[in-house]
């Protein structure tokens, strides 16, 4: 068999360490699908291209490697858009490969032709249109390099079918790239250290970048050495163990009241790998009004994007922490820590059930029934907030959630990618009925590959978070948020070949959860909850982080 473009694609992927791709074929991907038969790379056939992108994303989040997804041109490519945008917003390293119509048809509105490079320009770090079979290897190598370095993110490579089919010689071997080391700016780190040492009421803000930069160990070290309390963003949850008493929770609209309050009172904040989105800060002018702001990030555009930064540092988080830690002088801040202890106690007493009600109890029981190293994948909506507030993350790659994009339907396909990437770990999905419907076809993928993924659908018959906002801020006029109760989700799951059972609202879920935990293969539990089971406290739109409300 002659070597063709498709072989070069697969060979280059293998060289980049890819062992699995998530995809869906079409007429224009066929040269690739054909040659997969001779490649060591496994191809997981999803049931929708959006799911292929989410699966690649879940794989990357669970493993730290670059996730790869593949689709055909036209609708295949446009279906991946939501998945690519989700990866972009959460800085997931991903390479999306789209097949394109033959290059002599470009711009002629050919069958299944679409300008996917143009469509994805704002949601990719970069993209490559391959115009020559001899560019395939170099484009893909650059794509992997770009996706996985700096602030990670998705890169798209569009390859026309005629180039995938074109005969070619062997491609030059990958040239070893010299590691480019950014020289740290030591005075900036010194200034941050001095400000932290001087401060009376410091708080660290740990963002998703700490996990992405593989700096969780150094992060814990900083917390321990400085004896400084920390908050996380939603993406930063699990970076540092909660066990040491310095964790104030996560900040923002649905975050922990203690975290929001302490940021408000602090005189110094150091953000690490966090970009101060409005979900974290609410009204920015009222965020941390007394604090000197220091920020460490690998992405220069994230510095000062949303907040005025007094002490910036652009660079690798591991290097930054390695330089910062020795400069920290441990000191006593008894008054500050005492204030935190008192506030924590008052706030915890005020909160019944962690603010998550019946759903919170359910999630606690799920975690108790699953092994410690379980990966939990919440969807988006109330189920997500219940999960991130209740689940105790013990390690960095154990809570995978769509934070920036807030993509409903993320959980089931992302869990597929996570399980494929981490076959030794248990994977549990916690989603609402609304999000479950959005990629429900992936039950077929789970069933086909016998992936032992556990799914808990928390069913309140409504779009719960929308319903809560309508209840609080739109005079309880519940329009367009009722999903009804006529669908038998247990029968649906069984129809896909997945064992399932239902737990009624007033029933103890313990036994069902135990059966799910001990099931060999996939399993679904549909847990009915009261539609009035919301999450409290929350921040109303337009209010500041310290104006959380606990009810109507």
């Amino acid at each position: 068999m002659d070597t063709i473009g498709a072989d070069i694609v697969l060979k280059t992927l293998a060289e980049e360490g890819v062992d699995v791709i998530f995809g869906y074929p079409g007429a224009n991907t066929l040269p690739l699908n054909d040659r997969l038969a001779d490649s060591p790379i496994r191809h997981y056939l999803m049931r929708h291209e959006q799911a292929a992108a989410h699966a690649a994303d879940g794989y990357a989040r669970a493993t730290g490697k670059v996730g790869v997804c593949l689709s055909t041109s036209g609708p295949g490519a446009t279906n991946m858009v939501t998945g690519i945008a989700t990866a972009y917003m959460d800085s997931t390293p991903m390479v999306a490969i789209t097949a394109q119509v033959n290059s002599d048809l470009w711009g002629r509105d050919a069958f299944q032709e679409t300008d996917i490079i143009g469509i994805t320009m704002p949601i990719t770090k970069h993209s490559f249109m391959v115009r020559d079979v001899n560019q395939i290897a170099s484009s893909l190598r650059q794509a992997f390099q770009l996706a996985s370095t700096g602030r990670p993110g998705p890169v798209l490579v569009d390859i026309p079918k005629d180039i995938l089919s074109a005969r070619c010689g062997d491609q030059p071997k990958k040239a070893p790239t010299a590691a480019t080391k950014r020289i740290a700016n030591p005075e900036q780190i010194e200034r941050i250290a001095q400000a932290l040492n001087r401060s009376e009421r410091p708080v660290l803000i740990i963002g998703g970048g700490v996990k992405l930069g593989d700096a969780c160990v150094q992060m814990s070290e900083l917390v321990q050495r400085a004896q400084v309390p920390f908050v996380t963003t939603m993406m930063g949850i699990g970076s540092v163990s909660s066990a040491n008493g310095f964790n104030l929770g996560f900040i923002g609209t649905h975050g922990n009241e203690l975290a929001n309050r302490m940021i408000h009172q602090s005189d110094f904040i150091l953000a690490l790998g966090a970009r101060f989105t409005e979900r974290s800060t609410s009204v920015i002018s009222e965020f941390a009004p007394l604090a000197t702001v220091a920020q460490i990030d690998i992405d220069p555009t994230s510095i000062g994007k949303n907040i005025k930064v007094d002490l910036p540092f652009v660079g690798d988080i591991q290097e930054a922490l390695a330089a910062l830690i020795p400069l920290i002088v441990p000191r006593e801040r008894d008054a500050w820590l005492e204030r935190i202890r008192t506030d924590r106690q008052t706030l915890e007493e005020k909160l019944i059930d962690g603010g998550c009600g019946q759903a919170g109890t359910l999630i606690r029981k799920i975690q108790a029934a699953m092994p410690r190293e379980t990966i939990v994948v919440p969807d988006v909506g109330l189920n997500q907030i219940w999960t991130v507030r209740t689940w105790q993350s013990h390690s960095p790659r154990s809570l995978l959630t769509s934070g920036g994009m807030g993509t409903m339907g993320f959980s089931v396909p992302a869990a597929i990618g996570a399980r494929v990437g981490a076959p030794d770990r248990d994977v549990v999905v916690i989603c609402g009925d609304g999000g479950f419907y959005m990629n429900i076809q992936e039950l077929a993928t789970i069933s086909y590959y016998r992936l032992p993924i556990k799914i808990v659908v928390i069913n309140n018959g409504h779009l719960g978070m929308i319903r809560q906002m309508q209840d609080l801020f739109y005079d309880a006029r519940f329009t367009t948020s009722d999903l009804g109760d006529r669908v038998d989700l247990v029968a649906v799951a069984r129809g896909f070949g997945i064992p399932a059972e239902r737990v009624a609202v007033d029933e103890d879920p313990a036994e069902a959860i135990a059966r799910m935990g001990s099931a060999e293969g996939p399993y679904m539990v549909e847990a009915m909850v009261d539609p009035d089971n919301y999450v409290y406290p929350i921040i109303p739109p337009g209010a500041s982080n310290v104006e959380m409300i606990s009810g109507k």
Binding site: G118, M121, P122, K125, H126, M129, D299, P300, T301
Partner: protein
């Protein structure tokens, strides 16, 4: 923050789609590009893009960081307020009448413009100047009846050799 005009100059890879990415950085943040000039440099693999945009004073810093992130952008320079020579080329087609003919020709001479084409009813002049001067000249000739006007937008070069 005060709104002012910024002149930004970029060296970019001379490839299809690059201009589209740069335009996207501006449009997705709500900035309007007021003028744009693109041409190859002495190295045919590299193009220079010079553009102007009106925005707040922290605009350059924010937009420069975003532009620097684009893979095909080699360098970004801000000419705003810098010691540089700035020029644009403008062509004005003007209606000629027996009454205005004399005054128009005198003014062209005074402003240092050049006549590049002329007929009984019409005259085309060329002006190369900085943007303030081209604006003033256009304003002066408008009452005579401008048939058509076209301009290149600003380009700029630093007065002194710079590092990097």
């Amino acid at each position: 923050m005060a709104i002012e005009e910024h002149i930004i100059s970029l060296l970019v890879n001379n490839q299809p789609g690059v201009l589209s990415r740069i335009a996207g950085v501006f449009s997705s943040r709500g900035y309007n590009i007021r003028s744009l000039c693109v041409a190859e440099t002495t190295n045919p693999e590299v193009s220079r893009i010079t553009l102007t945009s009106r925005a707040e004073s922290d605009f350059t810093e924010k937009i420069k960081k975003q532009l620097d992130k684009l893979v095909d952008v080699i360098s970004v320079t801000d000419f705003t307020g810098a010691p540089a020579v700035q020029r644009e080329l403008m062509l004005i087609s003007l209606r000629l009448t027996p009454e205005n003919r004399k005054e128009v020709l005198r003014a062209i001479d005074l402003f240092g413009c050049r006549v590049v084409a002329m007929s009984e009813e019409c005259l085309i002049m060329e002006i190369t100047a900085n943007k303030d001067k081209t604006a003033a000249i256009l304003k002066y000739f408008e009452p005579f009846g401008v048939v058509e006007m076209n301009r290149t937008g600003a380009i700029a070069v630093f007065r002194q050799a710079r590092e990097g």
